[in-house]
Symmetry: C2
Subunit: 388 residues, 2 copies
């Protein structure tokens, strides 16, 4: 028989329990139930009109051929300008690669850096695709527990303590998914100092940059040129389904990244790249900034509401659109808790077990990717659920 | 210092020499030279209007959110219907995954199947991304030489002879890039019989299906359910820049493929998926069939012309849009030959060394992805070049 045997590698690749929640929510909705969606890691807004218009203008040309593997030069130029304007950092467009989402950026960075058996430090809780991609490219995840007390971010000491000869680098994420917390500039510089001492690599997941409500997040590029930065048009720019992100690499990695783009993707979607040219326009930025303010209002209402209900929260998360809540007064089985909340009260959330194992059974993630009215309704329903 | 050391893995990932040819062609064009492009592996036609229209209609909704990881159910349904209508094969939409190009399909198949050190048989010459992706996912390429005499396709005997304990499977491609040849149904069945005897896996690259000029190509799905099929909207459907393909997997691999889609891509581009719904419409198919006829006319002119010029050709290739020509009367350095032809006569072609090492220095690939007039002009220029 022709073999259909799945690789051992796949034994390390987790699926997401939230998929069960979403599937069950869908079934309930089909049967007529109203579901408040607080599980979705995607802005609820439609793509900003100027971006849509630019996409349509480009499609009218009919000329949807491949771009070069590295991506449209004019889009890389705009991203470089944005680093100059928003961060005061000089980044040559030659170091910028347009990727199929930040997922693609992470793959290119990891394949450039990892050999089989290399260990990589990441925060637990953290975004599961980051760990899974490390495993897919032959690396090993070495999770470092982070808590409310460390603002859910890796520290210099944490990295120093966890280092070993087998560790080759670190993946950080600020703002973080699932916690929304931002690593402070001092803390980042100190952490990068340790990575430099150890001669490790650094991949910085900055896909929620732009969605920061108190000041702005620091890019690792402000501290060193020798870092890999994954960023995205999905979150602040609201272009999830367009599948477009970017990767900044050190000079030494430009050639490897080009080869990887060619072989893994050929190139990012052409129409998305042209549409994204409008993402940096002033009219688009006005729309996106108004949406950020709306996210901030939602965060404030949700944070206060969850706190009132008895969830133990860290300090108010500075970015992204998530609140990671310690529900240990209510459950030590976050999956069962999420399913019960959905079944009984029609509120969908993500169980902590999707983000690691550190307190994961006592935590749940709430996304504020739905309207204020729905968030308030969700809070009322959660109250009823907790009191029942 | 923070490390920017590139992985050892990247030592196995080749870049494409044709990139040098294309970069030099671009420079010459900027300086005012006219270049005949016969190096490009992409149809020159604009996307068919009904697909463009569907894409624009979808973008107008503004609702460009993620689809589920496996892809739009209605698109998977249409692909399933197409297998029924065009091949007489029943394929459940549950086994079909919409991927970011066939590149994505190949990655998902390889990551599902390969563990570190596994060997995979492929034809030399063959498409370089296939070999490179095998290496990226930790496998080892075991190249099997194919020639004009075997129609540049793997045979049952070739596979049997090359098998070893370390070999876990085979990647075939029909029609093939760079040769355009199609594996005959009998030969495919016999080859798959050997793979089944060895209990190996089979990945069938069918991205040029639809672009076959004499009859149609057989899908490996017609012979077994236990195969992985990579296909694409890029070639016959003319949607290169949209970055959309699909993967058919055996039942046993559905779960792994879902996890890989989530972790590597989240999903394929949403607007591309909606636009592709129009790819199977009758008006689109009429346009695509007319283009196929145009490709066929080009093939016939190019084949006759190259033969007249003294290139040694196998039998006329049945599909894709390439002719792979033995130029050993003219060169034993296909790269230098391609560069000289470009510099002296302004014709861009792809050197054989991009496709392996088997006779690669004596072969070049001509793509008929430009108009008949340009092909004829190219042939005249090559004549002058060869006579000078």
């Amino acid at each position: 028989m022709i073999s259909t045997k799945i690789s051992k590698r796949m034994g390390c690749i987790t699926s997401f329990h939230v998929m069960d929640v979403m599937a069950r929510a869908k079934t309930l909705e089909v049967s007529g139930r109203d579901i408040v969606h607080m599980e979705v890691g995607e802005p609820d807004f439609a793509t900003a009109q100027p971006v849509i218009d630019e996409g349509i203008r480009f499609l009218r040309s009919g000329n949807v051929h491949y771009t070069k593997a590295q991506g449209l030069p004019q889009l890389r130029e705009k991203i470089a300008q944005n680093y100059q304007q928003s961060y005061g950092v000089e980044v040559s467009p030659e170091r910028i690669f347009i990727t199929p989402g930040a997922s693609g950026a992470l793959s290119v960075a990891l394949a450039s850096l990892l050999d089989v058996g290399d260990e990589v430090l990441i925060a637990d809780p953290g975004y599961p695709c980051n760990s899974n991609q490390i495993a897919l490219f032959g690396g090993k995840v070495k999770a470092v527990n982070v808590t409310q007390h460390s603002n859910y971010q890796l520290s210099a000491k944490g990295v120093d303590d966890a280092w070993a000869e087998s560790v080759k680098g670190v993946v950080i994420a600020s703002p973080s998914n699932p916690t929304g917390t931002v690593i402070a500039r001092d803390q980042l510089a100190e952490l990068m100092g340790v990575v430099a001492d150890k001669q490790g690599f650094l991949i910085s997941d900055e896909i929620y940059h732009g969605l920061v409500y108190d000041g702005r997040a620091t890019s690792a590029l402000e501290i060193s040129r020798d870092v890999f930065i994954a960023n995205s048009f999905s979150k602040f720019y609201g272009m999830t389904g367009w599948r477009l992100g970017w990767l900044v690499v050190p000079d030494a990695a430009v050639d490897a990244a080009n080869r990887l783009m060619q072989n893994l993707y050929i190139a990012a979607p052409t129409h998305s790249q042209y549409a994204a040219l409008a993402a940096f326009n002033e009219d688009t930025q006005q729309i996106l900034n108004a949406r950020r303010e709306e996210f901030q209002r939602r965060r404030d209402v949700l944070y206060a509401g969850l706190s009132d209900l008895g969830f133990v929260l860290g300090k108010k998360p500075e970015g992204a659109f998530y609140i990671y809540a310690d529900g240990s007064s209510f459950t030590d089985d976050s999956y069962a808790f999420a399913i019960a909340l959905l079944e009984k009260q029609g509120v969908a959330i993500t169980p902590g077990i999707d983000f690691g194992s550190n307190g994961a059974k006592q935590h749940v993630r709430f996304a504020y990717t739905t309207s204020l009215e729905r968030i308030e309704l969700g809070l009322q329903r959660i109250k009823v659920f907790l009191e029942s």
